[in-house]
């Protein structure tokens, strides 16, 4: 573990020495295995040091002796909350290396389903984040909406979490019967649900007390430490790969990139809520414009991209996710 100088000049409550507390890597509340060394003054966290790497599962090594189509299901498991987005990086990387022309219908269905995945990922974030700081109700409400999305995934891909959603060159099968109706129902109901979350949280004094001014990351710091996704935008940096380097059908839909002002937890909360609204807008537009036609490109039987280095990245729900082929 790398060492970080932690300033100890601050006076502590009751003049007692600061307490150093080791949280994780197995602490159940860390949502994934992360080790955090905390310096505490009473209940205030003065400083902390993160030790990452506990989720390293040797995916690269596994990928070394698998064929190209076989690697896709493993990519889902890099972030099982956003398996549909993750799967997209892999297939798009290989498609671009092989210069496959993916039909527009597949691009639109991919856009709809990755945006639904963004919503479900943000909902799970909202659920667990609210739960951790004391709002249990939101957990149940957010999971209720997430269930709607997972049902659509189940009907489309045959699985709810690790969907194995895409195949190189297109999709395993076309949108199921009733896909538009299901997505439309979700799209119509969802704004009222977000408003409900806002009613309970956005003005609530306990919520404000526990998020406003907490965990502030300035825009310079956010860029310097390489943050991306909603965490970066919460600090006020308008960077979104969907706008900067559009992939799938994002060039054809209209949406805004919300940014925060202060870079605190409350701003990141607002950014994520607004992103869910924007995702809903994207889904709605993509569903309207979705063309008919095939969903698979002419793909060779044996998938063998030309050797060489290639990098392609997309905007996942949690930030930039890239696939690098070397």
């Amino acid at each position: 573990m790398h060492q970080v100088e932690i300033a100890t000049t601050r006076e502590t409550l009751l003049d007692s020495p600061e307490m150093v507390l080791n949280m994780g890597p197995q602490h159940p509340s860390t949502h994934g295995v992360l080790r955090v060394v905390l310096r505490l003054d009473g209940e205030t966290v003065i400083d902390l040091d993160c030790d990452i790497g506990y989720l390293h599962r040797g995916m690269e090594k596994i990928a070394e002796n698998r064929q190209y189509p076989m690697i896709a299901p493993y990519w889902d498991r890099l972030d099982y909350i956003a398996a549909v987005s993750n799967g997209l990086v892999w297939v798009e990387t290989v498609e671009q290396m092989m210069r496959l022309e993916v039909p527009p219908r597949a691009h639109y269905i991919r856009t709809i389903l990755t945006e639904l995945n963004r919503i479900s990922s943000h909902l799970l974030w909202l659920a667990t984040h609210a739960l951790d700081i004391g709002a249990v109700t939101i957990l149940l409400w957010a999971l209720r909406e997430r269930e709607e999305v997972l049902k659509i995934f189940e009907r489309q891909f045959g699985a709810r979490l690790t969907c194995h959603a895409w195949r190189i060159g297109g999709m395993p099968s076309d949108a199921y019967e009733g896909f538009s109706a299901d997505v439309n129902r979700f799209v119509n109901n969802f704004p009222k649900r977000i408003d409900e979350y806002e009613t309970v949280l956005s003005e609530n004094r306990i919520w404000l007390g526990r998020t406003v001014g907490i965990g502030v990351i300035s825009a310079e710091d956010a860029v310097a430490i390489g943050l991306s996704g909603p965490a970066l935008r919460g600090s006020g940096v308008a960077w979104d790969i969907r706008k900067a380097r559009p992939y799938a059908a994002y060039a054809d839909v209209d949406f805004d990139v919300p940014v925060g002002e202060n870079g605190d937890t409350y701003d990141r909360y607002l950014v994520r809520l607004e992103e869910m609204r924007q995702s809903r807008r994207i889904v709605q537009q993509a569903l309207e414009k979705m063309p008919d036609g095939p969903v698979n490109a002419k793909t060779p039987k044996i998938i063998k991209p030309p050797p060489g280095e290639y990098y392609h990245s997309i905007e996942g729900p949690k930030g930039e996710i890239g696939g690098r082929h070397a």
């Binding site: 698998r66 189509p69 076989m70 690697i71 896709a72 299901p73 493993y74 498991r77 109700t137 209720r144 269930e147 049902k151 189940e154 009907r155 489309q156 891909f157 045959g158 699985a159 690790t162 194995h164 395993p172 099968s173 199921y176 109901n189 009222k192 649900r193 409900e196 009613t199 309970v200 949280l201 003005e203 609530n204 004094r205 406003v212 001014g213 502030v216 300035s218 202060n262 870079g263 605190d264």
Partner: protein, 177 residues
């Protein structure tokens, strides 16, 4: 640590805070849901109860669901559809499948010929990640991932399915509703 400029609350905001308006709004919404759960009605979704009564009521899983594997048989002759081509085993990233074939003697147009047929089929559900690559590789629609999702067993050995289990399916406990 950079500090944040939080705007000072206005008088009306202070007044609202004093009368607990923010908390009351949230509580009102929660109470509305309690009422919805009693009457099973909700303005947005049309129903207020979300709990599924599993195992008494089994959930309707989607037709495309990737669950327990099955080897399909010809509905008329009840012969297996498997031609022992081994493509499913080659497509599987996790090496879960073992296709064991044997040669039998048949007569084609009066001449003796050898034909490869399926002898035994081993499917290790403990390592399977239900990605359905095997199902897509199968040329005869023999291997299929079905809607059955109850795969728990009492032993590790129970996860390894043989041809009989794959063809007949497994008995699962059904509960009266």
């Amino acid at each position: 640590m950079p500090l944040v400029n939080v705007p000072k609350p206005t008088f009306s905001q202070k007044l609202k805070r004093f009368f607990l308006v923010d908390l009351m709004k949230g509580l009102g919404l929660t109470l509305k849901y309690n009422l919805g759960a009693i009457t099973d009605r909700d303005a947005v979704a049309g129903h207020g109860i979300y709990t599924e009564q599993y195992p008494k009521v089994r959930p309707d899983v989607a037709p495309r669901f990737h669950g327990a594997p099955r080897l399909n048989m010809d509905p008329e002759t009840h012969d297996t559809l498997c031609i022992a081509c081994n493509l499913c085993a080659l497509a599987c990233p996790e090496d879960c499948i073992d296709v064991i074939a044997m040669d039998i003697e048949i007569t084609v147009a009066g001449k003796p010929r050898k034909k490869k047929v399926l002898d035994e089929f081993i499917f290790d559900t403990s390592r399977c990640m239900f990605c359905a690559l095997c199902q897509e590789a199968c040329p005869t629609a023999c291997l299929e991932l079905t809607q059955d999702f109850e795969l728990a067993t009492y032993s590790r050995a129970g996860f390894v399915w043989n041809r009989e289990m794959l063809e007949q399916g497994r008995e699962t406990v059904k509960y009266e509703s």
